[in-house]
Chain length 229, copies 2
DNA sequence: ATGCCAAAAATTGTATACAATTTATCAGGA
DNA sequence: TCCTGATAAATTGTATACAATTTTTGGCAT
C-alpha cells in the first residue's frame, strides 16, 4: 500500500490525512476556506506543516489553491464530476477483474467486515461514515488487484468522488449501493472475473446517474468566483 | 491544460518544472541525490521553495523522499516499470480514440510540427531532447482528447516512463518510435478512431517490450538501499 | 588493515520572522 | 444610498533560525 494514498483514504496520523478524512465525511463542505493559521492552531502545528498538507491535498484535487488567495475545499465542476466517474468506469471494472485472480480468503473476510460496517453506519444514521466506508470498499478492491499505480489513481478518484457526491447528490436514492457491493462481493467470492467487471461497471454508471448534474451546484457565488477562475 | 501537468511536462517557469525537465532529458540520472540547499543555491531560492518542489515531484513519483534522509531522483523498480506501461496501455488507446472525435486542423499542425522537432533532435544527436519530445507527443494527444482527469494521469505516466527508459532501455532499437508516431498521426488525420486506438496500443506494447526488464538495473547498490526500503 | 564508537559535520523537519499581496474597513463625495 | 479610494487588517509567499536526525570522520583497540 501506498503512502500517497493513505492520506487520501483518511488516515488520521498526518495533517493531510485528517483533513482528507474530514472532507470524506462531509464535515468540511466544498468551498470551505482553509486558512493556514487556523488549521495550524486546530492541530497544534505551524503553518509550515499545514502548507505542505494543503499542497498535497491540492495535488489530489481535494483542495484548490489560488496563488496569494489561499486554499479551500474543492468544488468540482459538473464537467469534472463527469470526468471523474468516466475515469473510474475506465479503470475500476478492469481492476475488479484483476482482483479476482489474486483475492485471498483474508481479503474476502475483510471485504465482508467492510460491508458490515457500512450497514452499521447507515443503521446508526451516520451517513458521513457510511459514505467513507463505501469509498474504502472500492479502494480495497483496487488494493487487492495489487497494481500500485492504478491503485493510486483509483484512490484519488474515489476521494474526489466524495466531494462530487457532497455537491451533486440531491435525490437520496434509497439503499444506496449496498446492493451493488454485495453483488461485487459475490462475484469475487465465486472467482467470476467477467461478472465482477460487469457489476463494477454497472455500479459506477448507477452512481453517475444518481447524481444531479444539471443545475449549478449551490449558493450565491461571488462575482469574483465566477469571473476569475 | 492543467497546472499540475505543466510541471511534469517540464515548463521552466518553476523549480519543480526545471527539475522535471532535467529528469526528462536524462540530465539528472535516477538515484541522484537532491539536497535542498544545493538545489536552492543553483536556482537562487531558499529551501522553502525547493522543498515544496521536491514534495510535488515526489507526489508524481519522479522523486523519492525518505523521511529525514532527503530526496533523490526515483529509481522505478521493474515491477513499477511494468505497471506504468500497463496503466498507459489501459488509458492511452482509449484516449487516442477520443482524440479523433475532437481533433482540429490546428491540432494536426501542432502534432506534425512536433514530429518534425523529434526528427530534428534525433538528427542532431540530442537524444535527451528527442526523448522528451516523444513523451510530449503522447501528452499532446491526451490534451486533444480534452479529458483533464485522464490527461493528468497520462502526463504523470509519461513522466515516469522517461525515468523507466533511463533505467531499462539497454538495446537501442533503431528508429525508436518515430514510425509509430507517424502511423498515429495518419490515423488521427483520417479520423479513424479504431485504428488510432489499435496503433496506440501496439505502440505502447512495443515500448514495453523494448525495455530490458530482467536484470537489476545498474550499479553497486548500497546495502542500506537494498535492505531498508 | 579492520571494525567499532564517539564527536563533528551535514542534512532534514519545524517554527518563526518579515515581505508581498489580497481582503476588509471606513470616511468622504456624488 | 451608493460608489470610490485610501488605509488598516488579514493572509499568503519566502527566507531564515533552530532543533532533530542522519551521515561522515577520525581515533583506538583488536
Amino acid at each position: 500500500m501506498d503512502d500517497a494514498a493513505n492520506a487520501l483514504a483518511g488516515t488520521s496520523d498526518t495533517i493531510a490525512g485528517r483533513l482528507a478524512l474530514a472532507i470524506h465525511e462531509h464535515r468540511l463542505a466544498p468551498g470551505t476556506k482553509l486558512v493556514e493559521d487556523e488549521v495550524g492552531e486546530v492541530y497544534g502545528v505551524s503553518r509550515t506543516v499545514v502548507r505542505a498538507a494543503l499542497q498535497r491535498l491540492a495535488h489530489d484535487r481535494l483542495v484548490t489553491i489560488h496563488r496569494n488567495r489561499g486554499a479551500s475545499v474543492s468544488q468540482p465542476s459538473i464537467r469534472e464530476a463527469r470526468e471523474v466517474f468516466e475515469a473510474r468506469a475506465l479503470l475500476e471494472p478492469r481492476t475488479a477483474r484483476s482482483a479476482v485472480a489474486r483475492i485471498t480468503a483474508a481479503d474476502l473476510r475483510r471485504l465482508a467486515a467492510h460491508i458490515e460496517d457500512e450497514h452499521a453506519a447507515l443503521a446508526a444514521g451516520d451517513a458521513g461514515r457510511a459514505l467513507r466506508l463505501s469509498g474504502l470498499f472500492h479502494i480495497e478492491i483496487a488494493r487487492i488487484a495489487d497494481q500500485d499505480t492504478i491503485f493510486g489513481f483509483v484512490t484519488q478518484l474515489v476521494a474526489r468522488s466524495s466531494l462530487i457526491i457532497a455537491l451533486y447528490w440531491r435525490r437520496r436514492t434509497a439503499l444506496c449501493e449496498s446492493h451493488a457491493h454485495h453483488a461485487l462481493m459475490s462475484a469475487l467470492r465465486d472467482q467470476d472475473g467477467a461478472r465482477a467487471e460487469e457489476v463494477m461497471k454497472g455500479h459506477l454508471l448507477d452512481l453517475l446517474s444518481s447524481l444531479d448534474l444539471r443545475p449549478p451546484p449551490d449558493g450565491p457565488k461571488t462575482l469574483r468566483e465566477v469571473l476569475l477562475p
